[in-house]
Symmetry: C2
Subunit: 340 residues, 2 copies
DNA sequence: ACTGGCACTCAGCCACAGTGAGTGCCAATC
DNA sequence: GATTGGCACTCACTGTGGCTGAGTGCCAGT
C-alpha cells in the first residue's frame, strides 16, 4: 500500500532527524530502515510528502526535515507513547517518595522530568482553587496584630498579618477562630469564601468590624493568585544542547522561562493526567517560540487536575519519549498528592 | 610619571574592552582617551603591562585584552564604585517598596539586580540562624495530628506536621503551646533550640513523650537547612548576550545556576553590605566557571549579614556598575528587612 | 623619556575550484 | 501502475591562495 509506505517514510524521517539533527536523504533512510524499496522510490514518496507540506528541504541539494505539520501527523498517528524502562520507573518512585514537603515534591519532579527528557521541565504548583480548607488558625502576635494562617488539603500554607485598629483579647480571637473554622473547614475555596461572608453577622455589633477584617484577610489569602501562579523550572542547562539557532531559539526561550505568567499560559488548560497536550512549533501561542514545542499535561489527586506540568524543547524533540516521561511523572505526582 | 600612565593605559584597556568586547590596540586607545602621548609610547607601556601579566594578546597581530590579574588590579585600585543615577535609585525604592511578602521582596530584588546589571542575578533568602522566633503555634488537625508552625522575625514561616501515637486533647495542646512560647519567644534560633531541651522536663511524666516529639519537630523546622539554602535566580536571558564561547561558558554556568548548593558556596562568606566580594575568572572556586566573574555582598537588617546576593557574568563585565548595583540593592533590601 | 618610521605578523575576507550528498526526472523493468 | 537504475544537475561545504589592514616590536632620532 503506497499510503502506508509514505507514512512509514515520514516516521523514519522524523526519527532519524530527531536522532541526528541533520537533514535525512533517501539513501541513508533506506540503509537505516528496512523499507524494502530503493532510494528512488523513497524519493518519489518524499516528493509527495513535500507536496503535502509534511517535510521540507532546507536547500535544494539537501535531505528533508519534517515541518511542524509533519511532526503533528507523526505525533497524532505514527507514534505511540514509549513505555518507560523499569529502571526509569524505579527512579521516579524512589525519587518522588523521598520528598518531605510540597516544595520538595515539586522540585524533585522538575529535576526528574528534566533528567528523563533532557529538556527544560516546568511544574506548576498545585492550584488552590480546587483544594479544600483543612484548618484556619488565628495567632495573636500582639494585641493589635493577628496572623491569619490557612492550611489547605494540598499541604499549602498561606498567611497574612492583619493590623487591627483596637486591641483584642485572646479570648475573643479564640471565639473568632472557632467560628471561622466551623464555617470553612473541609470546604472548597470557592464555597468557603461564600460561607465566610455570613460569619461576621453571627457576632455582636461590637465584634463585627474586627471579624470582617480577619475574614477579608482570609479570603485574600485563599484566593491569592500569586500562589496559583507559582511555577518551578529546571533543566535549563539542557538548552546548551540546542546548538545552533542561538539568538532565535534560546534567547526568547530563556526570557519566556522567567515570565511565569506566560509559562502558565503555555502549559495551558491541559486536561487530566490521561490526556497529553502537545503543541508543536507554530502552534505554540507565543511568537519567538516558533521553533520550540511543548508537551504538557495536568495532574492532581484522583482524576482531577490541580495544576499542569510539562517540558519545553526544540521542535525536533523525541516526542514519544517526552510524552511518556511527562505522563509518568504526572501520574506518580498525582498519586503522591493523593496519599499526602 | 610613567607608572601612573601605565595604570591609566590599563584602565583604558579594561574600559574599552568591556565596552566593545574586542581586543584594543594602541592607536584606538590614544584616539578614544586623552592620554597625551603617541601610540608608540602606549605600545611600550602595553609591552610592560604584558610583561607583568596584566594584559594579553589573543594572537600576535591583535590588540590586547585584560587578564584576570588585570581585572583584579583594575577593581582594586583603578575603579571606584559608579554612583547610580537618580532614576536608578528611584526605580529601586519604588520597586522594592511595593513588595507584599518575603517571597515577593526576594523576587523583586532578583529582577531588579538582573535589570540594573544586565547580568544573571542571585539572591539568597534571609538565613534563619540569626533571626529570632516571633511566635510558635500548635494547631490540632485531628486528635493525633498536630501542625507545628514557627514564625520568625524575618517573616519566614516554617511548618511541620507531627503524627502522635495517642490522641491528645485541645487543652493539653494549649498548655504545650504556652510552655513552648514562653521558652522561645524572642530568642534566636540557636538559643531557642537550647531552651527547648528543658521544656519536656517541666511536664508530668505522662506528657513528656508527646512534648518531646513536638519539640523535636520544632527544632527541625527551625534549623531546617533547606530553607537556609533557598536561592532565587533571575536574568538568565542575559546569558544570550554572551555571544561566543557557548559550550565553554554558558553551559557550565547554566548547570551551576541549578545547583543551589554550589551557588551558595560561590556567593560565599560575603561580609556586610559595606563590603563587596569580587571574584574574577580563575578566582572563582569552581572549574567550568573560569571565564565568569562574581560580584557579591551580604545583606541584612542593621549591620548584620543574614544572607548574600550578587551577580554572575563574564569576566569582561562592567565591574564599577555591577558593584554599584549590588551594593545599592543590598542596602535597600537591608532597609526593607529592618522595617518589616 | 618620548616619538616617527618601518618591517613584520597574521586574522579576516574574498574568490575560486573541487567534492559529494542529495535531488528530480525519465526510460526501462516487473 | 508501481518500482527501479541511471543520469544530469544543484549547491552547501571545504580547502586554497592572495590580499588587506590593524596591530605589533624595534630602532634611531629628538
Amino acid at each position: 500500500m503506497i499510503e502506508d509506505r509514505k507514512l512509514a517514510v515520514l516516521r523514519a524521517i522524523v526519527e532519524d532527524y530527531v536522532a541526528t539533527q541533520e537533514p535525512v536523504g533517501s539513501k541513508a533512510l533506506v540503509e537505516r530502515h528496512q523499507l524494502g524499496v530503493s532510494p528512488a522510490t523513497v524519493r518519489n514518496d518524499m516528493a509527495a510528502l513535500e507536496e503535502e507540506g509534511l517535510i521540507a528541504q532546507p536547500h535544494t541539494s539537501a535531505g528533508r526535515i519534517p515541518t511542524d505539520k509533519g511532526y503533528r501527523l507523526f505525533v497524532d498517528r505514527l507514534s505511540q507513547v514509549k513505555p518507560l524502562s523499569p529502571a526509569e520507573r524505579r527512579a521516579i518512585t524512589t525519587l518522588l517518595e523521598g520528598a518531605v514537603d510540597l516544595d520538595d515534591v515539586v522540585q524533585r519532579s522538575v529535576r526528574l522530568l528534566a533528567q528523563l527528557t533532557r529538556q527544560v521541565a516546568i511544574v506548576q504548583y498545585p492550584t488552590l482553587s480546587r483544594s479544600t480548607v483543612r484548618h484556619v488558625e488565628l495567632v495573636t502576635m500582639s494585641t493589635t496584630r493577628v496572623l491569619v494562617v490557612v492550611i489547605l488539603s494540598t499541604g499549602r500554607v498561606e498567611q497574612r498579618v492583619v493590623e487591627l485598629p483596637d486591641a483584642v483579647s485572646d479570648e475573643s480571637v479564640a471565639t473568632y477562630r472557632s467560628a471561622v473554622n466551623r464555617a470553612v473547614m473541609g470546604e472548597r475555596i470557592a464555597d468557603a469564601t461564600e460561607k465566610l461572608a455570613d460569619v461576621p453577622r453571627s457576632f455582636e455589633q461590637h465584634d463585627r468590624p474586627v471579624v470582617s477584617m480577619l475574614v477579608a484577610a482570609l479570603v485574600e489569602a485563599m484566593s491569592d493568585h500569586r500562589s496559583d501562579e507559582r511555577i518551578m523550572v529546571g533543566g535549563t542547562a539542557n538548552l546548551a544542547r540546542f546548538g545552533d539557532g542561538f539568538e532565535v531559539t534560546i534567547r526568547p526561550l530563556l526570557e519566556a522561562l522567567e515570565e511565569h505568567v506566560l509559562l502558565l499560559k503555555l502549559l495551558g488548560e491541559a486536561g487530566s493526567p490521561a490526556h497529553l497536550t502537545v503543541r508543536i512549533g507554530s502552534e505554540v501561542p507565543h511568537e519567538g517560540l516558533a521553533s520550540t514545542s511543548i508537551v504538557a499535561t495536568g495532574y492532581g489527586p484522583g482524576s482531577e487536575s490541580l495544576a499542569n506540568l510539562g517540558v519545553v524543547g526544540p521542535t525536533r524533540m523525541d516526542y514519544p519519549g517526552a510524552m511518556a516521561s511527562v505522563r509518568a511523572v504526572a501520574q506518580y505526582l498525582s498519586k503522591i498528592l493523593d496519599e499526602g
